[in-house]
């Protein structure tokens, strides 16, 4: 019998033992190795790095394994680890113009300097489950696998991602639009200025754009995706946006250690950067043109980078005084609900014992029934609400 008042300690101990056993599965099946997760579940690793807000593959891989593939749980593990790490300084803003891109597409222009680089993408595969991988392989998927093979070979030969396809600087579509007078130059407020750090201070509404982009970068992919989708379906946008540019690749991280006094390269990270463009018809003192939405995410996270860009535009519009009518336009709605560690915790905390609170509710409801309902009914006509039990619980 489940009696929670006593025996909690034993129950918790047994539950932990069960979870370990369930996670491992039958001993006859070989255990997954971290290198398998890192290389064969790479997009899961990328997602957890992004939402865990920590570029650390070793930690993330272990978290995914430990969470039995539950990615939100893995994000939680990574966040809990991240919080213990020392913050030793800020890097120079990464230069995505110098990205070694493995993928770069524009939905707005047929061709552009640097070209369209399709790279590894599921976009043009056919979603047919390969129950029998040898029989069911189709040419599209084969091509993709071959590309993956090449990259993996390159990876094993040199450092990670050396199979990247381009190293020439790629001009940004946004810069080209600015140059042609079709988009306003951004205030550039983020470059080189000390930025607020969302991981060290609470979220305050209204939040500056730097904080919003941080929150969105680590927000839950599903929530951001659906919120952006709602904008597209007319709950916030009044027209179709365009993908100015989406690029995935490796960028250098530069840092100046105080003891050295000069800039050194401390590593390379894989990121996804997205510019979304929305048409703007002009106002009294602003020329018609296009407005940008921006997203930058750890790893290859295209779905999320695009969602973030759409939401960034929507939240910028609201900041510029445009009417806020739908959730996707509301800073507080988006920012306060996008963190899946917070959301998952609070929704699931309902599993915790609430016996005391519920007891108080019972007392209060019974007393309300008595004073406000039963006693007001004429004696012969006494009716109880349909759901109310005949006798006290």
């Amino acid at each position: 019998m489940y009696v929670a008042v006593k025996g909690g300690q034993t129950a918790v101990r047994n539950s932990r033992r069960l979870v370990t056993r369930t996670r491992r599965g039958p001993e006859t099946i070989p255990e997954i190795g971290p290198d398998q997760i890192e290389n064969q579940l790479g997009l899961a690793v990328d997602r957890v790095m992004a939402e865990g807000a920590l570029y650390d593959k070793r930690a993330v891989v272990q978290a995914i394994k430990q969470a039995q593939g539950d990615l939100v749980e893995a994000v939680f593990l990574v966040r809990a680890y991240r919080t213990t790490l020392k913050r030793f300084g800020n890097s120079t803003p990464v230069n995505t113009r110098k990205m070694r891109a493995i993928r770069r597409v524009s939905g707005a222009f047929k061709d552009l300097p640097g070209g369209q680089i399709l790279g590894p993408t599921y976009d043009y595969t056919h979603r047919l489950i390969e129950f029998d991988p040898d029989m069911d392989k189709d040419t599209a998927n084969q091509t993709l696998e071959e590309a993956g093979e090449k990259e993996a070979t390159n990876k094993s030969q040199t450092k990670e991602g050396k199979g990247a396809q381009t190293t020439a600087p790629l001009p940004r579509v946004m810069e080209i639009l600015i140059q042609q007078g079709l988009m306003e130059k951004g205030p550039g407020e983020l470059i080189g200025e000390p930025t607020q750090d969302l991981t060290r201070q609470p979220l305050k509404i209204p939040a500056a754009r730097s904080i919003r982009l941080q929150a969105l970068a680590r927000g839950d992919e599903g929530f951001l995706l659906s919120s952006a989708y709602s904008l597209q379906r007319g709950f916030g946008l009044d027209r179709h946006p365009f993908l100015g540019e989406l690029r995935v690749g490796f960028v250098e991280v530069l840092y100046t250690p105080p003891e050295l006094g000069f800039e050194i390269k401390i590593g390379e990270i894989k990121i996804t950067e997205c510019f979304m463009i929305n048409r703007f018809n002009g106002e009294k003192d602003r020329s018609p043109g296009f407005e940008n939405g921006y997203g930058l995410i750890f790893g290859q996270n295209e779905r999320k980078a695009m969602s973030v860009s759409l939401l960034d535009r929507s939240l910028q519009n609201a900041e510029e005084g445009k009417a806020v009518k739908y959730p996707g336009q509301d800073q507080e709605f988006i920012l306060a609900h996008s963190d899946n560690v917070e959301a998952s915790g609070f929704v699931q905390h309902l599993k915790l014992p609430h016996y005391v609170d519920f007891q108080s509710e019972l007392l209060s409801v019974r007393s309300l029934q008595k004073t406000n309902y039963l006693e007001k009914q004429a004696p012969g006509k006494t009716k109880r609400p349909k759901s109310a039990p005949e006798k006290n619980l």
Partner: protein, 282 residues
């Protein structure tokens, strides 16, 4: 393609259901008929509505052409052709007059269509009222009662604020003097090609699960006002490849100094024009 999939991927019952929706759509031009859209092995937004229409229409003798952005060779067109080549083994063509079914995203071919041909459009947002009234039941009522005032107010607001109607693509049309419909996100340049067209035009929205149609020889009028008539976009440039002055041109960025070039969006038309022009050149 493994043989346990049916001809053209969908099972016959699903095809029948879609054909019924098509018949209803043909009977009520411009009316959005809800249908039990199926999951397809390509993502929503990639043309699942169009693919379902094509799958239900294809017979073994059909000749299929697929274009995206007017071109036979864009990645998504290539992918969809590959899908039907493998699932239906039908003949694929790049030549508009040869095709019996033409699936398209965002363009109508420059080469005029003929009687007996079927155009299949991939539609993201089937309801032109969606950006005015995103709530579906409300928008359905507006269509039912022909309450289109809000749409005209939006166009009027454009004129009041910007001096013209600023919608450049997916420009709403009135079909057979009754329903306001979306021509799908074709440039407004292509709208007149729908009016009194001898071909069947079928529109499929997979994600929103709706089908609508413009039957042959139907009036399709782009919304406008007497004093602000519907206008087509025009280019000062002509195509850098074939020299056409009359086709829809795409802009291509050549470098980061702002150099641009213009070429036909319809790759087949461009190639044909080039071929015709060669003998005339000195």
């Amino acid at each position: 393609m493994p043989s346990h999939y049916n001809f053209a991927y969908l099972d016959e019952q699903s095809k029948k259901m879609i054909r019924r929706a098509i018949l209803k759509a043909m009977a009520i031009p411009g009316f959005q008929v809800p249908f039990g859209g199926r999951e397809m092995p390509l993502p929503y937004g990639w043309g699942t509505g169009g693919i379902q229409l094509t799958a239900s229409l294809l017979g073994k003798e059909d000749i299929l052409k697929v274009i995206d952005q007017g071109s036979n060779d864009t990645v998504n067109a290539v992918s969809i052709k590959d899908f039907f080549r493998r699932t239906a083994h039908v003949e694929i063509t790049e030549i508009t007059p040869r095709a019996t079914i033409i699936q398209t995203r965002h363009r109508i071919p420059e080469t005029p269509l003929t009687q007996g041909q079927i155009m299949v459009y991939q539609v993201p947002i089937p309801d032109p009222l969606q950006f005015i009234e995103p709530k579906r039941p409300e928008a359905a009522k507006m269509h039912a009662f022909e309450e289109y005032g809000a749409m005209y107010v939006k166009l009027y607001e454009d004129i009041a604020c910007h001096g013209r109607i600023v919608t450049a693509f997916d420009y709403p049309v009135r079909v057979h003097n009754r329903y306001i419909a979306s021509p799908s996100p074709i440039p407004k340049f292509d709208n007149p090609k729908l009016h009194q067209s001898p071909a069947v035009h079928l529109f499929g929205a997979g994600r929103e699960k709706r089908i609508y149609a413009v039957p042959p020889y139907t009036d399709v009028v782009s919304l406008d006002f007497e004093d602000y008539p519907f206008e087509l976009e025009a280019w000062e440039e002509s195509c850098a490849i074939c020299g056409s002055h009359t086709s829809f041109l795409d802009e291509i960025i050549m470098d980061d100094q702002g150099t641009r070039m213009f070429v036909c969006s319809d790759s087949e038309y461009c190639a044909n024009t080039l071929e015709k022009e060669v003998p005339c050149q000195p």
